[in-house]
């Protein structure tokens, strides 16, 4: 999505949501009501309600097996819900454009296609003509300033490059909302740090609502406008912590008093929920 297009969106203030207080007044993008889900005898969600604000990056964090990924998979329609309603500005999932980035990029990309064709594939599913697919993909690549050789097959690329290709594939349709399921947890630390910066840059430029599942608290807080802290299942919202640190965040953000305090608060909530077992 270009900056100009973004300016035409109904709520361009989304990018500024890091400013204190602003987030509370906005219309929600996603509304979840009465969501229920069970796996065999385990009740993962029971009449779960949540509003996800527009144009914010939400990190989902919680104890192991509490249903972090299950939540975004249900929102993104990858697994069916037992009961409840999930609406996007009042619309159903099949009426909106969205992107999804898998943790396992190796299995999510198509190894028989070059990286460029992987990125353009969702446009093919939308019946966009070949010439326009190429133009739109090239535009996205230029806009993001990506400097990797997209004529390579994915298996010839490093893990970070492959995940970057996955993210571009999710962005090429200009989604209204982007889901990321532990996108960096299969990468080495150096690449993880680099990819966090890439994601933050993408978020600041596009203002797309993003929902990120993370198992690393520092990453969850660093990237988020709000951290959704879940309890053990059946999952409740333990806290929906606002992260006020201004963007763009950098290494120095990590030692800011405000950031440290927010992270400590999240850790406290998390540990309280872990002990509750």
């Amino acid at each position: 999505m270009t900056v100009a297009q973004h300016a035409l969106r109904p709520d361009p203030s989304g990018v500024l949501s890091a400013a204190p207080g602003v987030g509370y007044t906005k219309r929600p993008h996603v509304t979840i009501r009465g969501l229920s889900k069970r796996f065999d005898s385990a009740v993962i969600y029971d009449k779960f309600d949540l509003d996800i604000p527009r144009g914010e990056l939400i990190s989902v964090f919680g104890p192991n097996g509490c249903g972090k990924s299950t939540l975004i998979n249900m929102i993104a329609g990858l697994i069916p819900v037992d009961a409840g309603e999930i609406l996007f500005d009042g619309m159903r999932l099949d009426e909106i454009k969205f992107g999804y980035v898998f943790q396992n990029y190796r299995e999510a990309l198509f190894p028989w296609m070059r990286a460029f064709d992987n990125i353009a594939y969702p446009l093919k599913m939308m019946n966009v003509p070949a010439a326009e697919r190429k133009a739109r993909t090239e535009k996205l690549v230029a806009h993001l300033g990506v400097k990797i050789d997209l004529n390579l097959y994915p298996y010839k690329m490093s893990g970070g490059q492959q995940q970057l290709v996955s993210i571009m594939r999710a962005l090429v349709v200009e989604p209204e909302i982007l889901f990321l399921d532990e996108p960096f947890s299969a990468l080495d630390y150096e690449m993880t740090l680099f990819m966090r910066e890439q994601l933050q840059k993408l978020f600041i430029e596009s203002g797309t609502t993003m929902v990120l599942v993370s198992h690393d608290l520092e990453e969850a807080v660093y990237l988020a406008d709000r951290v959704l802290l879940l309890s053990r299942h059946p999952a409740r919202v333990a806290d929906f912590t606002v992260v006020r640190s201004p963007r763009p965040r950098t290494d120095t953000t990590l030692s800011d008093a405000d950031f440290v305090q927010t992270k400590a608060h999240c850790l406290e909530v998390f540990q309280r929920e872990v002990r509750r077992a």
Partner: protein, 253 residues
């Protein structure tokens, strides 16, 4: 460095060793020379036979029958395997029948196929195709069924229809396993063809060549025909490996 570069010649050591032992055994007359001719006379029979001789003709016949059987098997088994693999419930309902006939020695089917097709080429080719079909079918179906779940979900999440997922993802996902099936299928087809050429009123082919040489006690010619069959089996496997590497470049990556 130099030692590393010479590593490509390592496989030749086994060949040289075998020929050396063979030469020694014949030179020292450790084995009855009628039963084991020298490497030189065997190679001579091989060369004369392949160079416009009878062996070359038999070789070509066997290649033709094996390839016909494999092609027919692939044409039938690949689409069928995709259909079966695409629905696990359909596959489960037919699994026993497929496994049963896959486990049945194809040679046990000769009499039946003789009744159906007579003593001509059709019988040999169809029995071999029957054996190869089940092997290829099984592998294709498994390739489709074992398509990476994440990849299928990724396609679904991007809005691909069921048919799209089948052609854009499952079909390509199954290709590496399909080639495993094709390699096993062509090997099995060759075995069945050679056996059929020996015993089902055949006038030509490598099987017939081996059998006839044995009947005439022409041992160099028999060994030459055996080596021709070995070379053919090895060559066919290699051919399919090369095709796989060319078209399924992502296999194993």
């Amino acid at each position: 460095m130099i030692a590393r570069r010479l590593d490509v010649f390592l496989p030749l050591i086994g060949v040289a060793g075998l020929v050396a032992i063979w030469s020694g055994a014949t030179a020292l007359k450790l084995v009855d020379p009628v039963l084991l001719p020298s490497p030189a006379s065997t190679f001579d029979a091989f060369w004369k036979g392949m160079d416009g001789g009878r062996l070359g003709f038999d070789f070509a016949k066997t290649v033709y029958r094996t390839m016909m059987a494999t092609v027919i098997a692939a044409i039938i088994a690949i689409p069928l395997g995709i259909v079966l693999g695409a629905s696990e419930r359909v596959y489960r309902s037919l699994e026993f029948v497929i496994d049963f006939f896959r486990s049945t020695p194809a040679s046990a089917m000769f009499p039946l196929f003789l009744v159906l097709f007579g003593v001509g080429d059709e019988t040999k080719i169809s029995v071999a195709a029957f054996g190869a079909i089940l092997v290829i079918l099984f592998n294709v179906a498994y390739g489709v069924m074992n398509a990476r779940k994440t990849r299928l979900l990724a396609a679904k999440v991007m809005g691909a229809s069921r048919l799209r997922v089948l052609f854009d993802v499952m079909l390509l996902e199954s290709l590496p396993q399909t080639f495993v099936g094709l390699r096993n299928g062509v090997s099995l087809a060759l075995v069945i063809i050679v056996v059929a050429e020996m015993f089902i009123g055949s006038q030509d082919g490598l099987g017939h060549s081996v059998f006839e040489a044995q009947q005439l006690f022409d041992m160099p010619r028999m060994y030459a025909a055996i080596f021709a069959a070995g070379a053919l089996g090895y060559g066919l496997n290699l051919l399919f490996l090369l095709i796989e590497r060319r078209f399924v470049h992502w296999s194993g990556k």
